[in-house]
Symmetry: C2
Subunit: 166 residues, 2 copies
DNA sequence: TAGCGATTGTTATATTATAACATTTATGGT
DNA sequence: ACCATAAATGTTATAATATAACAATCGCTA
């Protein structure tokens, strides 16, 4: 497989900032590898949906995915997409962005986790954070109330550096 | 107005744990006061929707609200509810729970903020946290990437103390 | 009380997601 | 290779959530 960070970049996925083709190839390679290891079947549809999700760093909705799929596969219907999404979510290959009812590729599918995102309200790009401190704080805050966290959503909306220039 | 915490409780709103009528009265009193201060009009519909939202500590969906409203106001329709919700959200009197497409009363509407919640997957009750540390961490993490946060969603799902007993 | 903006009524439709059952495809044991 | 089985996909219908657009009414104030 390819892998290894292909560059540094300030922000998510503006075409200028990095060679996004590498993001896509890496994501698909890693997905294939993980599914293979797990005996999970990354079928054509599932792989294609993952590829479409990775077509940008912007969360994409199920029906946007469906629109594209339909051009390639006349009988694609909502369940086609939602089943693929269910699979990809189960495998930790994508995350759901709750504040947008949309989906984005996971930056690090090797270990299962809930995503944590900064999402630009202007360009739509999202970057995944890994802030273990936030999870620890949240866990301890819950714990002090006797609450046990099983999953969580953390999504911050605002302006990315590129979009603050305006 | 009434106000002042009416009791201590381990967790959210189980009927046994507290006199919930006081929660409702306090919430409505505070809403009236805030709207009055701001020159915002807490109309009958808006007040009633707020009251329905406060009927429990469980997030409630727009169409559940609508179902009740319709019994009292034959011509209630989706816009009736969504407009009231828009108003209540704007005034910071309720929060939207993104992971459930549902709404819950704000525990402290005096200062504008995004909510932060622990939500029990078993009983459905939710409690609002105020963890300034988490916001500070999130802000600084964003800041290190040049990102400026304008709003955020933090929702943790899991088991409340009551529901762990099973 | 006339005018004006805010609120509510009304109808229609957009968007997101799932249910239910039929058919096809992949896989493992013989 | 052949069959039994489970998994995946096809197909149709519908549920659940949310908004658009325009009309009618209300409430304030000039
Ligand atoms: Zn990229
Ligand atoms: Zn991830
Ligand atoms: Zn209560
Ligand atoms: Zn609040």
């Amino acid at each position: 497989m390819a892998s290894k960070k292909n560059h540094k970049r300030d922000w998510a996925g503006s075409a200028e900032s990095h060679d996004h083709r590498i993001c896509i190839v890496d994501a698909l390679d890693k997905a294939a590898e993980l599914c293979s290891q797990r005996g999970a079947r990354l079928t054509q549809i599932r792989r294609r949906v993952l590829e479409l999700i990775w077509s940008s760093h912007r969360p994409i909705g199920a029906y946007s995915l469906l629109k594209v799929l339909k051009e390639e596969r006349a009988n694609a219907a909502p369940p086609t997409v939602y089943r693929a999404l269910d699979f990809l979510l189960e495998q930790g290959l994508v995350h759901r962005i709750q504040s947008q009812n949309a989906f984005i590729g996971c930056a690090d599918p090797n270990h299962q986790h809930n995503g944590m995102f900064l999402i630009c309200t202007d360009c739509g790009n999202a970057v995944e954070l890994e802030e273990t401190k936030i999870d620890r704080l949240l866990k301890s805050s819950a714990s002090s109330r006797g609450f046990v966290i099983e999953s969580r959503t953390v999504e911050a909306a605002g302006l990315c550096p590129d979009c603050q220039i305006n």
